[in-house]
Each structure stands twice: as C-alpha cells, then as structure tokens.
Symmetry: C2
DNA sequence: GGGTACATACTCGGATAGTGGCTGTCCGAGTGTCAGAGG
DNA sequence: CCTCTGACACTCGGACAGCCACTATCCGAGTATGTACCC
C-alpha cells in the first residue's frame, strides 16, 4: 500500500501558499523550480486540488494558484482525498459469499463482513486524524527561518 | 492508495482457521475452492504469513496451513504488515530540500519535515487501531450460523 | 508381523507473463494582462 | 489622454507513452503420509 507522491507535493504547495500571505497567484512554473518537480505533472495534481475546492486557479497572465480558503479551513484530509481519490484503501470484495463458502448460506450475509468492519474502523481512525489537522497546524510547526526564506524568494523573483 | 487484495484473503483464511479449532492443517486447495480464489497466488500470500510467524505450514501429505498462535495473539496489524510489507503508506521524499527550496538553508532541515510528521501521526493512529483488534475479535463478531456451516464443510469433505 | 520401496499429497522457492494505476510529457484551446500604436 | 490591437503569460483539458507494483501461473525440488510388497 503506497500513497501517491502527489499528496506530498500538494501539501507542500498548500503550506507554501499559506506562508506567502500574498493574495497574488503563484504560477506552476514557480512551484516546479522551487521543489524541483516535473511542471506538467505537478500541474495535474494542483488541478485536482482546484476541482476539490482547496485551491483557486486564475487564468491569464499573472495567473496561477491560490488557496481557496484560509489555512485553518483546509484539513489534510481535504488534500489527501482530492489527490488520492475518495475510495478507501481496504476494499471488501465479499469473498465470504464466493465459492463454496457462499452456497447454502442463510441470511448470514445480511450483516456486514466482520473483516470489513474491523478494517474500516482502522481507516476511520486514520481519516479522523487527517481531518483533525489543518494546513495552519503544519505551518505553525515549521521553523521561522524557512518561512522567511520562502517569502523572500517568492517576492524577489516575482518582482 | 489501494491496499493489496491479499490482505482480505489472508484475514479470511486466518478467521476460518480459527473457527475450525482443529489442529489439522488445511491445504491451499481447500481454501481456494472455499473462497473461489486463484490457488497459486493465494499460496504466495499465505507463505508470506508463514514467514511473518502468523501461520505455520506443514509439508508432505496431510500437510497445509495452521495458525501459529492463538487467535487472541494475532492482531490485524500482524496480517497487514506481513502481506503489505513494512513500509509506510506516506513516504516523505524531502522535497523541501530539493530545487531552489533547498539552497541557502541553514540548519532548518535538522528538524523533520512538518508535513511528514502530520502524515505519520495519522498513520500511527491507523496502525494502533489495527494492533488493537485481533483475529479473535473478528471471530466473535460473526454469526454462529457461519461458524457452524464452515466447520461442517471442512470436516465432512476432509473425512 | 515387520521392514522396505513406491505412489501420493502437500509445501517451498524461483522464474515468468499480464494488467492496471501512477508517473510524466505534449499539444491545442481559452483567458486575462500588458504594452504600444493610433486617434 | 483614451481606445484598440497584438504579443505574452498563464491555466484547462484531453491524449498518449513509460514504468512499477500487484496479480496470476508454471515448474522443479523437497518432505511427510499411506500403501503394497516381500521376507
């Protein structure tokens, strides 16, 4: 089970956007150089965040990406769900109903599969923890030097 | 992010083995027919559980797979880790140190990446929940009719 | 009856394809900004 | 000074190739059981 790399990219871009309290949009090229990522592919990921309502995109010259909400209003769950998709990691295929295990069953299968329930419980805990943390929380934990350096770099080269 | 299908298979096989309190090993062919799964591939998954010390395999005629420990001693985390592998879902690639973001940094990077910390926190919650549940718990939640039907099927065809 | 040899039933481990999703790139279309020309 | 026009800088969306992990299968080797045969 491996999470898409785009989640890390998206989170870092969101945090960076939050640091620059600037309302001016940041073009994809800037992000790509900043983190040394493939521009076209990074663009796709950020577009997914736009579709999910996490980011806002501005077209045309001087355009780019901006946070759609305040950092306190963006949870890690929002970003993960937008990039990874909505489906759960564990998918119950109801193998208990297949093969000989399924024949001659009464209404036992009316109640959900116990394995599925147990796995879902763990996944809910994971999602809850993701929903409990926001971009603002991650921002706050970073060393101030990083914030200053990022702000300077983005404003200077942007002038 | 999708979890390997083998996890579901492994869990159901463990629960089934726990239901048949029998000490007699169950061959792979039996499981494959029972759940209608590809025998060869299922075998690989159960072999992984053997390597992880969750199951015991007996070679030779009348051989097969058995639980290595009591169901109370086998957590869902054991099974998931055995089949999915030990590495975490979110892998921090330290993109903050790459590209222009990395140049001119002081010792800011001594402290771990905030994004990584946040994601790890969620993943720890997930693992804790998996570790808190055992095969015995899943067993207990199943309808008694299923247990009876499974026991009968495995003992009759095994005679 | 007891011991030996063979057929049988399994697992183990490596090797090998097929497949789907993630990764990465390219291109045409649309849109907003800015500068420059002309009135 | 004002307006119009064109160049430019971006995003959007679709299409497409490469790669890797998961899925699936096959085969030879090893091992335990059970039976048949022979003494």
């Amino acid at each position: 089970m491996r999470m898409s790399e785009g989640v890390e990219w998206g989170l870092h871009c969101c945090v960076t956007l939050a640091w620059l309290e600037d309302t001016r949009p940041v073009p994809i090229q800037r992000f790509a150089e900043w983190f040394d990522l493939p521009p076209e592919y990074l663009k796709k990921r950020l577009q997914a965040l736009v579709r999910a309502g996490v980011l806002t995109s501005t077209t045309g010259a001087r355009g780019g990406f901006t946070l759609a909400r305040a950092p306190e209003q963006i949870t890690l769950m929002d970003v993960v769900a937008a990039i990874e998709g909505p489906d759960e990691a564990f998918r119950c295929t109801e193998i208990r109903q297949r093969g000989r295990s399924g024949v001659g069953a009464g209404r036992e299968f009316a109640s959900p599969c116990g394995v599925s329930i147990a796995m879902r419980r763990a996944e809910v805990a994971w999602r809850r923890e993701l929903s409990a943390q926001t971009i603002a929380d991650v921002m706050a934990a970073a060393p101030p030097a990083s914030v200053r350096r990022t702000r300077r770099a983005f404003s200077v080269t942007g002038a």
